[in-house]
């Protein structure tokens, strides 16, 4: 009833306004702006007619209202295209249609690119910078912003953990650190998120999930250090600048909605019930009595076809001197393993206001989100692999209703039997809620007294509050086994970062000498405060309340930790430009960080770069094939301080009640001084880059080629310290260095250009190669003796599979070379010498080098032990290739992204841990990985190179088909996307992109997701 009244009211208002408009004697011009390349719609084109101007929407549509009648020139301008004009006559009270086609110029070199504390024309940039705009983003079910640019930027490895919205890692030109972070700095709308980008809070999945990808206009990656160096101490791993969408002229509503369905692609290959029974009969005959007659596929019990939906609504508009955009989004996505869900509600508001006769631009950005994450309880995947397929899921006689191995003595407490993963899934809970809000106000004032002088102030906050809780009832097998007696955990963590920045910018042509300069100088202050309280209870007296309350518990731990840090910086940059031909840039940042002691607090991070646009030289003017050609070279020093606070303080750790010392009949609590290096300081990376940007054949082919080298020194490392000189065997200190070297190529080609009604095709290609080498971890020791074991795996306790050894890539696998039999299978023998290659490790001054097996002065020592393990491949891809195609045909468009890695290796930990018959001899037998049928291993061979598998692959990450039509003159786009359409790989495990460290230990399986949806604008 009420609704109807509003409707009638609105209708009356509309009727009343209509004649008013006519009386104003103005007209309307509207139309669509497209590119001459494939006829693709161009957004962000400024269209002016007389005093009125508007910008085109993503579909290329624009509307100019309130146009004074008369004939005038309609102008359309967009960076990277030649301006176009068209004479149009506007008539009072009428709407005129005027479409415009823009001709592309040197696209990549004329665009405006956002850089740190400013923006520049791409053609004048002297560093390696890649901007990806929303039109080129990956599509489909995208939950985290990082995924938008996967395979779009050369040299950037985007790694996720396969969970929906799960944690992402970005590696720009390889890792530069081992113990500090190797993640880039994220800057959102000019606000640096600071170290960890909101990470460290354990409630949610990816800390960047608060940012709705639908709100992002473009993402710029500062790949080389000269571009990033203006961010100094946080820039060693590169910088990612994210710009959110802002309002455009003409009130517009935009809705995008989609539904998705995901299914499992690959799972670990375990024995089936018959194979398992046979293995138990042969290798653990005493356990056969424990077997039952079920035929359970445990992975089938815990995976599912997962559904998801997403709805985004945005309203944007402009009035007079202000632009605004308001957006809201809802996302709900299930994971392909039961129990995994992520749900997000996000709001965003952007406002730009021009004041003081356009001298002062004020902009505000405010975003907030709530993410609710449900996690599959820990152990579901590993137990699904381990649980015997002969056993049933349910057992009504147990208090939980689920079957569990009776174990030794029938008390269900056997330490050596797997937990029923279905019981774990259904009885335990693990969930997190994250509220995050980020807001900024930025003001830029153009001085009236000195043309080219601008002052900018930027104030921002970033607040996160989280709640993570997990509950494991006391009846669960795992709780019986560990003696925990049920556990309840809750953490309410919060973090706030505040940033204040101010900078002055002055751009002017020089008078005394030719050329022009652009000078920026500023100051930045960042403060971070975080609180990490948690409580955990073990030995719950009842399970009745679930995770909602604890009546009493055997042991309760309450913990509180407050951490604070400060970063203060002064920075400056000078760009010199001579006739757009010779370009020079230099910057310096002076950073102070509270993470270091008084002696080491301040660091200087300079950069210098030069560019030469050869195409502007007269001797190339005649070469029409070359549209643009630029050579660049740069050098920079950047820092990394992304590690824990208070490392320089010598701290004492108080022992808990269960670690006391008995003095007679009294128990005394303990304190322990921790190892410390009070002189800890920044990690520093010196980077060199030479590159060429080119555009050929009237821009039909453009691209860039870069060669780079990054030397990182003073690596913050937790290293073995000489025994007795400190308070533990490892100390976190600056020791060691590493190098990354590589080459990057990106190409963009307009292969087919649209002729009326024809086909258009644009293709992008990137290739990058990176070589990482640890050059030193201790300047005092010989390289041969220097190694640190790392990379923990499942199997044994504290077993590691990787090594940090100078001369090799970081985290190289550290294994024995397995001998192969005549059948090509790895030899199995109880005598290790028959099985593994005995490396020459024994110094032999007399027999060598005459002996046939000698290498240098070393010969095999006749024993297989730790000395025979050698570094063997590493997880990082040596080559990354990507290809994106954008095809258009009439109202259809098709795009896809292909990705390929070469030279990446994965350690198949599921196979190494469970691919051995000894696993059936446990208290209750574990199921076996099917590799045991090939290898016949009876005892585990964790360190065999057999498990280090080549994981090169070709993957269709993404393919989208869309159809656009008009409904009542409003564009409607319907689309369907398949993500992870196919993967071609020789890797036998679950996923060749098994995380950054290349250890496939019951990783979350990768989903194939099909998304269908529509986009409306009105």
């Amino acid at each position: 009833m009420r609704l109807r009244r509003y409707f009638i009211g609105a209708l009356l208002a509309g009727l009343w306004m209509a004649p008013l408009r006519a009386e104003a004697q103005t007209g309307t011009i509207r139309g669509r702006v497209t590119s001459d390349l494939g006829g693709t719609a161009l957004s962000g084109v400024t269209v002016t007619f007389g005093a009125k101007s508007a910008q085109t929407q993503p579909d290329g549509q624009y509307v100019l209202t309130g146009v004074a009648p008369g004939t005038d020139t309609l102008r359309a301008r967009l960076i990277g295209y030649s301006p176009a004009t068209r004479v149009v006559t506007a008539r009072a009270g009428q709407t005129v249609d005027a479409d415009i086609v823009l001709t592309a110029r040197a696209v990549s070199l004329s665009e405006i690119v956002v850089t740190g504390y400013g923006e520049q024309r791409a053609g004048n940039i002297t560093g390696a910078v890649t901007q990806v705009s929303s039109a080129d983003f990956n599509t489909g079910r995208i939950i985290s912003p990082e995924e938008l640019i996967r395979s779009k930027v050369p040299g950037v490895q985007v790694v996720d953990n396969n969970e929906p919205g799960g944690g992402f890692s970005l590696r720009i030109r390889g890792a530069t650190s081992i113990n500090a972070s190797s993640e880039p700095l994220f800057v959102i709308d000019g606000v640096p998120l600071g170290t960890g980008a909101g990470g460290g809070l354990s409630a949610g999945r990816n800390p960047l999930n608060f940012l709705n990808p639908d709100d992002i206009a473009d993402i710029t990656v500062l790949r080389d250090a000269s571009a990033a160096a203006i961010y100094g101490a946080n820039a060693a791993n590169g910088v990612v600048l994210i710009q959110t969408k802002s309002g455009r002229a003409g009130t517009q509503f935009e809705y995008t909605g989609s539904m998705s369905s995901s299914s499992v692609t690959r799972l670990p290959s375990m024995l089936n019930a018959a194979q398992f029974r046979a293995a138990v009969q042969q290798y653990a005959p005493t356990k056969v009595a424990q077997l039952q007659d079920a035929n359970t596929d445990w992975f089938k019990q815990v995976d599912r076809t997962a559904f998801g939906q997403e709805h985004n609504l945005a309203v944007s508009g402009a009035s007079g001197s202000s632009h605004w955009r308001l957006s809201g989004g809802f996302l709900d996505q299930d994971g392909i393993i039961k129990g995994t869900t992520t749900q997000r509600i996000s709001l965003g508001f952007n406002l730009q206001q021009h004041l003081l006769k356009d001298r002062l631009d004020v902009s505000a950005s405010l975003r907030g989100s709530r993410a609710k994450d449900l996690f599959t309880p820990g152990g579901v995947l590993s137990n699904a692999a381990q649980f015997g397929p002969t056993q049933p899921v349910l057992d009504p006689t147990r208090p939980t209703g689920y079957y569990d191995w009776p174990g030794q003595g029938g008390d269900f407490k056997d330490l050596q039997s797997a937990d029923n993963p279905v019981a774990l899934l259904n009885l335990a809970t693990d969930r997190g809620t994250t509220y995050r809000s980020i807001g900024s106000v930025q003001g830029t004032y153009r001085a009236p007294f000195l043309e080219g002088l601008r002052a900018t102030g930027n104030f921002a906050y970033d607040i996160t509050r989280t709640d993570r809780q997990s509950f494991y009832p006391s009846t669960l097998h795992g709780q019986l086994k560990s003696g925990n007696g049920g556990s309840d955990y809750r953490a309410n963590q919060s973090q706030s970062n505040t940033t204040a920045e101010g900078y002055l910018n002055y751009a002017t042509p020089l008078r005394a000498v030719p050329g022009s300069i652009d000078v920026t100088g500023g100051y930045s202050y960042g403060w971070s405060h975080a609180e990490y309280p948690y409580y955990s209870a073990n030995g719950l007296s009842t399970n009745l309340l679930g995770g909602n309350g604890v009546t009493s518990a055997r042991s309760v731990v309450n913990f509180q930790d407050i951490e604070e840090s400060r970063l203060i910086s002064v920075f400056g940059r000078v760009n010199y430009n001579l006739n757009d031909k010779y370009l020079l840039a230099a910057s310096l940042r002076h950073d102070g960080s509270s993470r270091f002691g008084p002696e080491q607090q301040w660091g200087n991070f300079p950069s210098a770069s030069i560019g030469w646009r050869i195409s502007q030289e007269s001797f190339l003017k005649g070469m029409t094939a070359i549209s643009d050609l630029k050579l660049r070279a740069s050098w920079a020093k950047t820092g990394n301080q992304a590690f824990g606070n208070y490392q320089q303080f010598s701290s004492y750790l108080l022992g808990n009640d269960q670690a006391q010392s008995q003095f007679g009949n009294v128990f005394v609590p303990t304190i322990r001084p921790n190892a410390v290096d009070p002189g800890i300081k920044w990690e520093e990376t010196r980077s060199y880059d030479v590159g060429v940007d080119f555009s050929l054949f009237n821009n039909a082919l453009s691209g860039a080629l870069d060669l780079y080298k990054k030397n990182t020194d003073d690596l913050i490392f937790t290293v073995p310290v000489a025994a007795g000189t400190n308070l533990s065997n490892f100390v976190t200190t600056n020791i060691g260095s590493m190098q990354n070297r590589g080459i990057e190529l990106s190409l963009s080609a307009r292969l087919l250009q649209e002729r009326r009604g024809g086909l258009s095709w644009t293709a992008d290609f990137t290739a990058s190669h990176n070589r990482n080498e640890l050059t030193s971890i201790n300047p005092f020791a010989s390289a041969a003796a220097t190694k640190i074991l790392t990379g923990g795996i499942a199997g044994g306790v504290g077993t590691t599979i990787q090594v940090l050894q100078p001369g090799f890539a970081i985290n190289s696998f550290y294994v024995y070379h397995h001998k192969l039999g005549t059948d090509g299978k790895p030899v199995y023998s109880t005598n290790l010498l028959d099985m593994y290659v005995d490396q020459p490790t024994l110094l032999d001054t007399t027999g060598c080098p005459a002996g046939p097996t000698c290498v240098g002065q070393f010969r095999p020592d006749g024993v297989i032990n730790g000395n025979d393990r050698v570094p063997f491949h590493d997880p990082a891809p040596k080559w990354m290739f990507s290809h994106s195609s954008y095809l258009g045909y009439h109202s259809f468009d098709l795009s896809f992204t292909l990705r390929s890695y070469l030279g990446n290796y994965v350690y198949n930990n599921v196979a190494s841990n469970l691919g051995t018959y000894s696993e059936v001899t446990r208290g209750s037998p574990y199921n076996l990985h099917s590799s045991v049928l090939t290898t016949g291993f009876v005892t585990p061979q964790y360190f065999s190179d057999y498990y280090v598998e080549k994981a090169s692959f070709l993957r269709m990450d993404n393919v989208t088909l869309a159809y656009t039509f008009k409904y009542r003159n409003n564009p409607v786009r319907i689309f369907g996307t398949v993500q992870n359409a196919f993967t071609i790989t020789g890797y036998s495990g679950v996923d060749p992109t098994a995380g950054l460290n290349g250890i496939d230990n019951n990783i979350y399986p990768r989903a194939r997701t099909i998304t269908t949806g529509l986009n409306l604008r009105f």
Binding site: F649, A659, A723, T725, N726
Partner: protein
């Protein structure tokens, strides 16, 4: 125009002044972290600190169950001091074998270790962790430090603590030279975070330990129920006796008379043999009158996955009910090597609790098969009255590092080797024999009191108490071909091993960190 300039200047100035204001202070003091600056304002901190030097032997870290581990690079339970010491002293010998395949551990069963063995490295670092804690305690408790903190009233108490810290440092240095030979000598005189130390000789450190123990013996607490778990004067004498007994190994010059004197001084103390041999290894063994120095464990207050908790859980498996040993489960690990089992004769109560799995004998056909070999659940979480300890997950049983029976056997061996006091020696040995068999039927005669008999008797009496490797080395039987046992040299029948295995290698990580060190020969 003019107004515009003013406005702009004001804006610029305000930006700059904001900068200047915030620029002044960069240091952020920790709020939730206890630092050296505030911890010692609490007088109790000294007691808590010396308590840590003790729990360094008992728990792997600052949390029960070995969380917040003291040393990095290995699981906290795996790296617990007593567990590592036990594994290094027992697994390579004729006494024990472990079924587990954790990388590095099987190498101990078969003398197959190299410089990268993570268990060997952990043992080395555990020793130096103890040394580091003791040194730092001594640095933080000097008279000057006490005076500067206004804690001079604590001086008498702290003097005792300082002697205890020096005892614990000497104990670990003894383990250090026994296992690794030439190692660096770092004391509280060295500054924290200093340059890598030089390698000292085994003899240098031997002399250092002797002088330290001699100096502090009178300052240590007196034995008694109120000082149980702490280092007492007799504990220092016992450590001296062990050192002197092995002086030939450590310095090249034997010193058996001194061993005899030191053992005599221990025996003169307030200790007596417990009527029950087994009581020394039960959950209430803190009431045994025989234990001179124990590493106490407690089901509620001192929890570890190492020490006796490891020994009890790992000795249990197939057919054995964990409840019978007062624990919550079996770990299927430790058994006897057949040679140790064969040392016992029928009626020896010290072997009365052994368990043999049906269908399996004393032979170890497969190291990884727990059922092979005789199980020796010597340690138990049941009290002498048969009650289960306080917590089946973490035992109450203390690890008896030194007990009177060992002092008797040291006395006897020193007596035989010096051919003095043989009558007294025979009395002591027969006291043990009599307890072992419940009567005098198995007493030996003076003719039977030989060094070889004593090695075997040490094997029987002190089985699985962490002395075996040292004993075999003293007798020249650990490596080489003179005595072979199952899986010695990684052959089931046993084979000769190279003499370099008498010392464990300096860990490869340590060679990286300290370029002054020279690897032991043969590695």
């Amino acid at each position: 125009m003019k107004a515009g300039i003013c406005r702009s200047l004001a804006a610029a100035a305000s930006l700059l002044s904001l900068g200047a204001l915030a620029c002044t202070e960069l240091t952020v003091e920790p709020k939730s972290t206890v630092t050296e600056a505030n911890i010692f304002s609490d007088a109790n901190s000294y007691r808590s600190f010396i308590a840590k030097v003790y729990t360094g032997l008992a728990v792997g870290g600052q949390q029960g169950g070995d969380g917040q581990t003291d040393i990095q690079g290995i699981d906290g339970g795996f790296s617990q001091y007593v567990r590592l010491l036990w594994e290094h002293e027992e697994l390579p010998t004729d006494e024990a074998i472990i079924a587990w395949g954790d990388p590095g551990l099987p190498d101990l069963n078969t003398m197959n270790w190299g410089a990268t063995n993570n268990f060997v490295a952990a043992m080395y670092y555990r020793i130096y962790f103890q040394v580091g804690m003791a040194n730092e305690f001594l640095r933080q408790s000097t008279d000057e430090k006490l005076a500067s903190r206004g804690q001079t009233a604590l001086k008498p108490t702290i003097a005792t603590y300082r002697a205890e810290a020096r005892f614990l440092r000497a104990l670990s240095y003894w383990h250090g030279i026994d296992l690794f030979g030439d190692i660096p000598l770092v004391t509280d005189a060295d500054q924290l975070g200093s340059t890598p130390p030089q390698q000292a000789t085994r003899a240098d450190i031997y002399n250092f330990i002797v002088s330290e123990l001699t100096a502090i013996q009178g300052e240590l607490p007196a034995p008694g129920a109120s000082t149980y778990g702490r280092a007492t004067g007799p504990a220092a004498a016992m450590l001296l006796a062990k050192l002197y007994l092995n002086a030939a190994v450590y310095t090249g010059t034997a010193n058996y008379p001194a061993a005899l004197t030191a053992a005599q001084s221990v025996i003169a103390g307030p200790y007596s043999l417990d009527a029950s041999y087994r009581h020394n290894f039960q959950a209430d063994n803190n009431t045994s009158p025989e234990i001179i120095f124990a590493v106490p464990e407690d089901g509620l207050k001192t929890q570890t996955y190492g020490s006796t908790n490891f020994l009890i859980h790992a000795s249990c498996g197939t057919d054995m009910n964990s409840g019978d040993y007062g624990v919550d489960g079996c770990w299927y690990g430790l058994r006897l090597k057949p040679e140790a089992y064969n040392q016992y004769t029928a009626g020896d109560l010290r072997a009365s609790f052994f368990v043999t799995t049906t269908g399996h004998g004393p032979a170890i056909n497969s190291i990884g098969t727990f059922e092979d070999g005789v199980k020796a659940p010597k340690y138990t979480n049941k009290t002498s009255a048969g009650a289960t300890g306080q917590n089946p997950g973490f035992v109450d049983t203390d690890y008896p590092m030194f007990r009177l029976a060992d002092a008797y056997l040291i006395y006897a061996e020193a007596a035989v080797r010096t051919n003095t006091n043989l009558g007294q020696a025979l009395t002591y040995v027969n006291a043990l024999r009599q307890r072992a068999f419940g009567n005098t039927s198995h007493n030996i005669t003076s003719g039977g009191l030989t060094v070889d008999f004593l090695l075997d008797e040490r094997g029987r009496e002190l089985l699985w108490e962490g002395h075996r490797r040292t004993d075999l080395i003293r007798y020249g039987k650990f490596t080489g071909a003179s005595y072979l046992w199952a899986w010695k040299g990684n052959i089931k029948a046993g084979t000769a091993t190279d003499a370099h295995l008498n010392l464990y290698p300096i860990p490869s990580n340590e060679l990286v960190a300290n370029p002054n060190l020279r690897q032991n020969p043969g590695y």
